[in-house]
Amino acid sequence: MTEGTLDTAAMPQRRETPRSLSVAFAVTVVLLVAAPFVVYPVFLMKALCFALFACAFNLLIGYVGLVSFGHALYFGWASYLAAHAAKVWALPPELAIVVGTATAAVLGFVAGGLAIRRQGIYFAMITLALAQMMYFFALQAKFTGGEDGIQGVPRGWLFGVFDLSQEMTMYLFVLIVTLAGFLFIYRIINSPFGEVLKAIRENEHRVISLGYKTERYKLVAFVLSATLAGLAGSMKALVFQLASLTDVHWSMSGEVVLMTLVGGLGTIFGPLVGAFAIVAMENYLAPFGQWVLVIQGVIFVICVLVFRRGIVGEIANMLRVQL
């Protein structure tokens, strides 16, 4: 049934981790550990947060086949709550992140519960509409600071020991959390639970006929995706010491879709590569102001028309490995 499904670079599953993945992971870790000595660390941290965000999104779209067009809701609100926790409640950074992530989980549960009731395109529109509703709520709520956002968020001392205002310490922290999230997603995908999710993507009715309560599986996947997006958002609030309306705006939802699309839907490393590519592009093109929007649109169009596998997908296809 290739008509109704998304192009993913999925190849037949094997029991143990394919060598290609282990190699790719090792290379990634080495590069990321060495990078901050060469590249501006704040830029790298931004890319890592978005990479985690994109990986969380990819879990939903690439492996369950659900398109959420409102993922900024979890990313942004987690960012707000983490910022508020760190600044106003004066919580240490690890607890602030927990607060933010928990917020995203709750929001994911509520939004997911509503959105799961419809399929396909309707699902996408509902997620978008719910995110927009929470955007307006953020605009008006006092604690979010409206257009000002929550500024001057302290980075604090991690576990009371590590000073996160040092760039390299913060970078290491962000790197470890991102890699942990990345591995966690990989674990989800390659578990019995993940197999059911992939089956739902291929043919939901058949899975129902096998006796699985697909609604529950979809909801759990949704909540997991939202939680990890929230983790990314909480970290971002601490990295930039700012939580603002941009994080809950629909264009942020669109950006994560773009990153995943460019990197490769349904690949493991796709969202990582896509996030770095898009963040780098935006950085490079920042002096050109509004052209960024046009170029994002052009990339969308090109990817959808001729480049559906994305960067990592194309590489995986060429080398005939799984990535």
């Binding site: 008509e3 109704g4 499904t5 998304l6 398109v67 067009f69 509503l114 009731r117 419809r118 399929q119 396909g120 395109i121 309707y122 996408a124 529109m125 509902i126 978008l128 509409a129 719910l130 927009q132 509703m133 307006f136 709520f137 605009l139 008006q140 629909w250 669109g254 879709v257 699309l261 102001g289 509004q290 052209w291 960024v292 929007l293 046009v294 170029i295 994002q296 649109g297 052009v298 990339i299 969308f300 169009v301 990817c303 959808v304 028309l305 559906r308």
Partner: protein
């Protein structure tokens, strides 16, 4: 000025009027979306951008060719509709075999391109567009002050919506359209050029959006992002109404505009979110939408 529910009548009726105007735009745009979705199974995310293009076409026609509002009402939909047909031929028809998600992503990308190009050229603030001379001023009705142009917007949108409904539900061409939505292969077997109908339908839907844009130009400033925030509300309207029926889209659009206007009077902080809240409620009670068929 008398008072209703403790509010001066001018405030209440004024907001209801504004609500009806918003409702007219919701109805026109959700109608266009419904028509396009019915025929192409594509959610046209660039609908908002095409609405904006309609407004800009009117503005540019006035600036550079001295062509006024009334002519723009006819020219802009045709021009923007033509670009829509171009999009359909160049891009959308290649995606017909694929998951509808790709159509959504493509039109989303196109929306970004269009908005970005206009923003680059015109900046983010609005360009002014004058209310046409014949419709300027207003009437003091006693219980409220009614600007002429806004009254015209409501009447005209209602007419266009009803005319579209009539064309689709009560004419022969409309019956071909509806049949082609249900079973395109069979309709082709009858010798009807289905691909051409699809293309023209997309053009028509886009033209409706552009028409709404021209009407919006004198009320809201003509700015590149006027479409993007509006389109998300229209999505919610479409989910509430369900995409099964044309009349459903029209009624839901106007009704929700009214509800929004009422909320502005009694509970202004919630006015931005009330439509989404209603969408959440409808999803819980009647997932297919108020007028929709179960998906």
């Amino acid at each position: 000025m008398f008072e209703i529910f403790g509010l001066p009548s001018q405030a209440l009726f004024g907001q209801l009027l504004l609500g009806l105007i918003n409702g007219s735009f919701y109805a026109l745009l959700s109608l266009g979306l419904a028509v396009i979705f019915g025929m192409l199974n594509i959610i046209n995310f660039s609908h908002g951008a095409q609405y904006m293009m309609g407004a800009f076409t009117a503005y540019l026609l006035l600036q550079y060719a001295g062509i006024g509002y009334w002519e723009s009402l006819v020219i802009a939909p045709i021009v923007v509709g033509a670009t829509g047909i171009l999009i359909e031929q160049l891009f959308l028809q290649h995606l017909r075999q694929l998951d509808p998600l790709y159509g959504l992503l493509l039109t989303f990308g196109l929306a970004l391109i269009i908005e970005g190009l206009f923003r680059n050229t015109y900046g983010s603030s609005g360009q002014p567009y004058q209310v046409p001379a014949t419709l300027q001023g207003g009437r003091n009705l006693g219980f409220m002050f009614l600007p002429n142009y806004r009254a015209w917007v409501i009447v005209f949108s209602l007419t266009v919506c009803l005319a579209t409904w009539f064309a689709i539900e009560r004419t022969r061409l409309g019956s071909y359209l509806r049949a082609a939505t249900e079973n395109p292969v069979l309709v082709r077997a009858f010798g009807i050029n289905v691909p051409r109908m699809v293309t023209l339908t997309y053009g028509f839907g886009v033209g409706l959006a552009a028409l709404a844009g021209v009407m919006a130009a004198p009320i809201y400033n003509v700015s590149p992002q006027m479409g993007s925030d509006l389109i998300i509300v229209v999505f919610a309207v479409v989910v509430i109404g369900g995409m099964g029926s044309i009349m459903g889209a029209i009624v839901t659009g106007f009704a929700l505009g009214l509800v929004e206007g009422l909320t502005k009077v009694f509970f202004p902080e919630a006015s931005n979110t009330v439509i989404f809240v209603i969408m959440a409620i409808v999803l819980l009670i009647r997932p297919a939408g108020l007028f929709g068929r179960a998906v």
